[in-house]
Amino acid sequence: MPDTASVLPKVVDFSREFELLVKAYEQSGGVPEALRDNRVGSLAVHGNRVLGANAVEGLHLHTEQTPTGVRVEVRVEPGVRIARPVHLCFGLLPEEGIQEIHSVFDIGEGAEVSFIAHCTFPNALRVQHVMDASITVRRAAKMVYQETHYHGEQSGTLVMPKTRAVVEAGAVLQNEFKLVKGTVGKLDLDFEAQVAEKGVCEVAAKVYGKKRDEIVVRESLRLTGAGARGLAKSRIAVTDAARSEVLGEIVGEGPYSRGHVDCVEVIRGNEAFASAVPRLIVRHDTAKLTHEAAIGSVDKKQVETLMARGLTEEEAADVIVSGMLR
């Protein structure tokens, strides 16, 4: 790995860049104290520069700069329970640019860890953000990963988060992607996981598309082991001329594997577009997969209930949609 300092132009003022990133991070919902607290595992990356990295006992962070981003290796030692959530901050402040994050997560046997990630592109006019994550949650380990995005107000971001996960026997992976404030731009979310015996994978995407935003969400789970369980959940709202397409796919291969696709897409206004395609494939006669999808306007009974408490139709719909995306 090249020494970070040697490849950077001398004019870069790290502390100022860090402060600006932290400010944007806070605006997107991040907790700035977490990035400064040495008892909390954290990583802050602006563009292709690692501005801060703090490992804690049992957690190893290894970073490597690339021309357009960083490679990150996150490893948790077997049997270690990381008490506080690890905070990750990725961002790009200029209006234009590319950030590519290639990450490898390796959660050792029986370990337990949770991550709170924020990705922020507050001024984006033409920003491209590629996330390529490979996750291994080893036997009986547990990983919770929550990622919140903020892409500014100008629909100027193209974001492609791609995850390939392996959930080993008895392990748990809970993954949530959230982009509900500001605009989306273009989002192409692609999540795939393979779940072994008695493993559990729950994946959820919550996105609010506005203006001309384009949303594509693909969640795909392969339940290979006996008694493996999977939940592919999506909550999408689209307004104005925004479009969303959701593909929720589960393959039940293991005996007694159980999977559920749960998709709700709310469309507000006549120009928006929403589609959902649940796909269930069963390869074992004791496996059982189910799906529910509700696409359309906000639920009438919910709206009328809130209107009966004095909220207008618009106010009621706002409350219902923000609850759904919470």
Binding site: D299, Q302, A308, R309, G310, V319, I320
Partner: protein
């Protein structure tokens, strides 16, 4: 008079559901509605609340002397009418605390959330941060609904079977809550199948086939109901088709 229904005819999907309904509810009065399944009790509740699909084809609804027949739901609510559903809606991501706060928003003298919950027998510490979604049991959800109406404390409360799904030991909380409304000067239109609950009423009406058969003293109406309605083989079927533009 707080509520006055005058010769109300209501159609749903082109079917006449309510026919020549005449009913008055006084200030601070608890008025119970009896009737076998399918007589139109819920339809009456929805019509007073102004829900979509309940079309008043003739007659009018007066609230505090003003004609509200064509007002939207939320305007009726802001004037002081609310409804607790027989099967209340569930909300993802909305906590009991937030739900009660919303109910209280447009209310001048609603009860604070903690007190509203205590009055329906739910411990605030255990329930305020719960979500009003599928994770609440049927009975819990019904109680939260009643609490949200206490938090609003409107002038007219329509309760559609507030006792259904409530365990026998807790029925007292429901009847107490109903009396609380009256003490605050609110009127209650109480739909129920249970005599114990109906016994809190000041007046009572019995419905049959979309209309009100008899109104009067609760004991008398209950006797009438037992004598005539329980034994009656009258089929509660929607009446003849009415034209959509009628």
């Amino acid at each position: 008079m707080r509520l006055c229904l005058e010769n109300l005819d209501v159609a749903v999907n082109g079917h006449a559901i309510l026919r020549s309904v005449n009913l008055t509810v006084r200030k601070g009065e608890i008025h119970s509605i009896l009737g076998v399944n399918g007589t139109g009790k819920s339809s009456l509740a929805y019509t007073i609340m102004g829900l979509e699909g309940y079309r008043v084809t003739s007659g009018r609804i007066l609230f505090e002397g003003e004609d509200i027949t064509s007002l939207p739901v939320w305007e009726r609510a802001r004037r002081g009418i609310t409804l607790a559903w027989q099967e209340p809606a569930r909300f993802e991501g909305l906590t009991v605390r937030q739900y009660l706060a919303l109910s209280r928003r447009s209310a001048a003298n609603g009860l604070p959330p903690e007190e509203a919950l205590l009055r329906v027998g739910l411990e605030p510490r255990r329930y305020l941060d719960r979500t009003v979604d599928q994770s609440l049991s049927g009975g819990e959800r019904k109680r939260v609904e009643l609490a949200s109406v206490l938090a609003m404390m409107p002038k007219l409360v329509i309760l559609d079977e507030p006792d259904s799904g409530i365990d026998a030991l807790s029925i007292g909380f429901i009847t107490d809550a109903i009396r609380t409304f009256a003490r605050f000067g609110a009127s209650v239109l109480l739909i129920t199948h249970q005599e114990e609950v109906a016994s809190v009423a000041d007046r009572s009406s019995t419905m049959c086939n979309g209309t009100i058969l008899k109104t009067g003293d609760p004991a008398e109406v209950a006797r009438f109901f037992r004598l005539h309605c329980r034994a009656c083989d009258h089929v509660n079927e929607p009446d003849e088709e009415v034209s959509p533009n009628a």
